[in-house]
Amino acid sequence: MSQQSTGTVLDAIIEGVRADMAARQEQVGLDELRRLAAQRPHALDAESALRGPHEDAVQIIAEVKRSSPSKGALAEIADPARLAAAYEHGGASVISVLTEQRRFGGSLADLDAVRAAVSVPVLRKDFTVDEYQIWEARAHGADLVLLIVAALTDEQLRRFLDLTHELGMHALVETHTPEEIERAAAAGARIVGVNVRNLKTLDVDVDTFGRLAELLPEGAVVVAESGVEGEEQIARYASHGAKAVLVGEALVRAGDPSATITGFRAAGAAARAGRRGAADPAGAAAEAASLRHAPGPYFGDFGGRWMPESLIAVLDELTDTFEKAKADPEFTAEFQRLSREYSNRPSLLTEAQRFAAHAGCRVFLKREDLNHTGSHKINNVLGQALLAQRMGKTRLIAETGAGQHGVATATAAALFGMECVVYMGEEDTRRQALNVARMELLGATVIPVTNGSRTLKDAINEALRDWVASVDTTHYLLGTAAGAAPFPAMVRYFHEQIGEEARAQILDQTGRLPDAVAACVGGGSNAIGIFHGFLDDPAVELYGFEAGGDGVDTGRHAATISLGRPGVLHGAKTYLMQDEDGQTVESHSISAGLDYPAVGPEHSYLHDIGRVRYEPVTDTEAMDAFKLLSRTEGIIPAIESSHALAGALKVGRRWAEDLGPEAAAEKIVVVSLSGRGDKDVATAAEWFGMLPDGSSEEELGEKGEQL
């Protein structure tokens, strides 16, 4: 293949890159790379990560770089994984890993180590001159590759860019001149880097960026590269419109890379806010860098309103009512009063010392199980019932799987004197006869849904059909932070108190932030509520544990983010369990509350930008944790919450392996104990074989009846 000669230092570098690649190709063929790439989880969305949560935000691409041709050896990097983790803790949005060996001292081993250590997107930074390298990047788990326009023909650039996008990755397309910017735009680059290092002289001229920035294609994410010594250059780039800045040397040499990145992000955001003419650039900057209180309707590419026109007017009405209510002290006071005097908030934060012995770290439980009705669900139903009242609606409808949300909605309807209809899959009404009775005792009508798979998703479909015909009198009280806008942001709003309380309580009880927070994720409302308190603390690792059912290899699970792919269902673009044709696939879990084939769109976003790690937990792992908490702490958890407990055990054991038992013992994980397990007693007794043969309880347990 012909190679573009650049007449610069690139030519010699590329010669070496080709020789090294030839050696690797001898070892690992393209077919093998394809196989490895296919086994990798879907690439993360570096474009969303670099766009950031707000127009003023400036993101940092932090580079793991051992040496460079211009400066020689930079620093001894004994452990690239640890350095990358420090970058992530400081709030880096992407980690760049140099893999070129001869001049930069990098390797694919560095890439592997970093990939395993961080959850944010990873850039494989190398001199891409062959498709083989792009496959190689994906096979090693990279989410981004570097394409240097100067080193490629137009045809190569287009071909490489297409392959990168086909593999679900993004490319940082690096330019140096107006001509190269034009070529990058023509090829369809979505992330365009401007490298201010002159390739002939290797000098850096920061002002070049300002001149070139004006030429960049509209809509592309603009990245400034090279020349950063401190916050001053970051501010300069940002004031010329950079959305992200790639920083290497300044971080590698920094004593505290985490704090340096935090400072860079603040300086960049202040400069962008200043450029836009914000009255209080520093305040605007703090807000811009924040992932908290994301307003929707979109979370990156996710969310929106994929809904029939017939429902748009009522969604508009709800959005409007919610926005006004949030700003109305009377509303917020009433919501807080109900939370305090009716739901029993704030819920406790309990250290679980005997349970923790099995995890090898300190474990604190956020006790949503102590709320009225036994789970976090009450927060959301009280909030939405208040909104329904404001809109003059007299009837509440809801979907329910296990019955938790149905019971909570029936409770609120009783309290507010409203009519209540709960849609429940016919299958679930049989499995949950006692919860049906509970709802009926509270005055609700339960309608068994006999369409489709007769489970939660069909109950949602049926509730939507009811709503289309009843919008004038009826509020659809959706039970999770999913569906069309405004539901995801609104449901989260009512659960934000979980995270806010937890953060204050852990600071109060231990004097510091936790190292990790764990929650179970079905639709994801308790998880988004507790994560919310910690989203802007990049050093706090966030874990969402999905229902792995019989195991993710069996196909019988509800691990939507771990194994699904983006699509639209129930009004939102989000990760879904679906077949090739886009038909929803049935989910499976021992926990009815996690048995949902989609997930809230904000979780999809937090996954794609790498802020939260989502992992599956199997039925067996969850039930083991259920029993362990019951026997070590005297607390019977909901099976849903047991997934978070099982996940916390994994996190603790990983720390013990990586850091040794002494260091792990100092670590803290906060677990969202989202609900209590009274409803799950029969299922658990059956699972553990505790019921006598032929007893009526055993029959109930076999049907999944939850007493």
Partner: protein, 284 residues
């Protein structure tokens, strides 16, 4: 439901949402057919049948029977796992089609058969996720190749349709969006500007299904949609008899029949579909 439309303030929705230069397809066979019907002094008869019900082959024969017995436009539905806008009859049909192994690509065979064997104009009616998963551009290209004229999108509003705007223009397809009795004036304006071929007016707040009487909010909705600039407005949801066709035909450009045809197919096969089409079109 009130018949006065809510006024909203703020910047014009249509200019915020629609891409500059968005045009209606100038060679739309759909618009041409509706104009032809108007010239003949009658409403266009628009019939819906799901692809793959009860099997792909039988759905082809049913669609052809519909097209050769008086339907001007045929909506071929794509069976979908979560049809939130459909009542029990259509749900049952599409669930059956899926259980019988329907695949999304089969829809193009049905469209092609209608295009080749009848004079009716075929369009596809589909929930959006199946299109999204095939790739919006790929779906549009294959639909155009099969002879389809456009897509009716019951759960895609113009606000989320940027990919579809590009693909429909690229492949010369019509974008049939819906308006509802609950739509504000501003949204009517948006939908009318976004749509091409015709605007689908939902006659009642509810899901699909035959009704004894067609609601009188439909006439007001059609008038308001025309006032927003629509050339062609067709009315659907609840139509099952010739008298409905005549009643709606007095004020709308086309009358859409779905559930009644699906029920006829379920009960009496393609022949029954043909017979109902003759009745609805006034030929029987």
């Amino acid at each position: 439901m009130t018949t006065t439309r809510n006024e909203t303030t703020g910047p014009d929705l249509a200019s915020r949402i629609l891409p500059p230069g968005l045009r209606a397809n100038p060679d739309s066979p759909l618009a041409a057919r509706i104009a032809e019907c108007r010239a003949q002094g009658r409403p266009a008869l628009v019939g819906y049948l799901p692809a793959g019900f009860p099997t792909v082959e039988e759905s082809i024969e049913a669609a052809v029977a519909l097209g050769t017995n008086g339907a001007d436009v045929i909506e071929i539905g794509i069976p979908y796992s979560d049809p939130v806008m459909d009542g029990p009859v259509i749900q049952h049909a599409t669930t059956t089609a899926l259980a019988n192994g329907f695949r999304v690509a089969d829809v193009f065979r049905v469209v092609r058969a209608v295009a080749e064997r009848t004079d009716a104009v075929p369009v596809v009616m589909t929930y959006w996720n199946p299109v999204l998963q095939m790739g919006v551009d790929t779906f549009a290209r294959r639909l155009a190749e099969a002879g389809g004229a456009g897509i009716i999108t019951p759960d895609l509003i113009p606000d989320e349709a940027s990919e579809w705007f590009a693909a429909s223009q690229e492949h010369g397809l019509d974008r049939i969006f819906l308006v509802a009795p609950s739509s504000s004036r501003e949204r009517l304006d948006l939908v009318v500007k976004a749509a091409s071929g015709f605007v689908y007016a939902v006659s009642v707040m509810g899901v699909t299904g035959a009704r004894d009487a067609v609601s009188d909010v439909a006439e007001q909705l059609v008038a308001d949609t025309r006032a927003a600039g629509a050339q062609n407005v067709c009315v659907g949801l609840g139509v099952s008899r010739r008298e409905h066709v005549e009643e709606i035909g007095a004020y709308a450009d086309g009358v859409i029949v779905g559930t009644a045809l699906v029920k006829a197919l379920a009960d009496g096969g393609p022949e029954a579909v043909g017979a109902l089409a003759r009745e609805l079109s006034g030929r029987a």
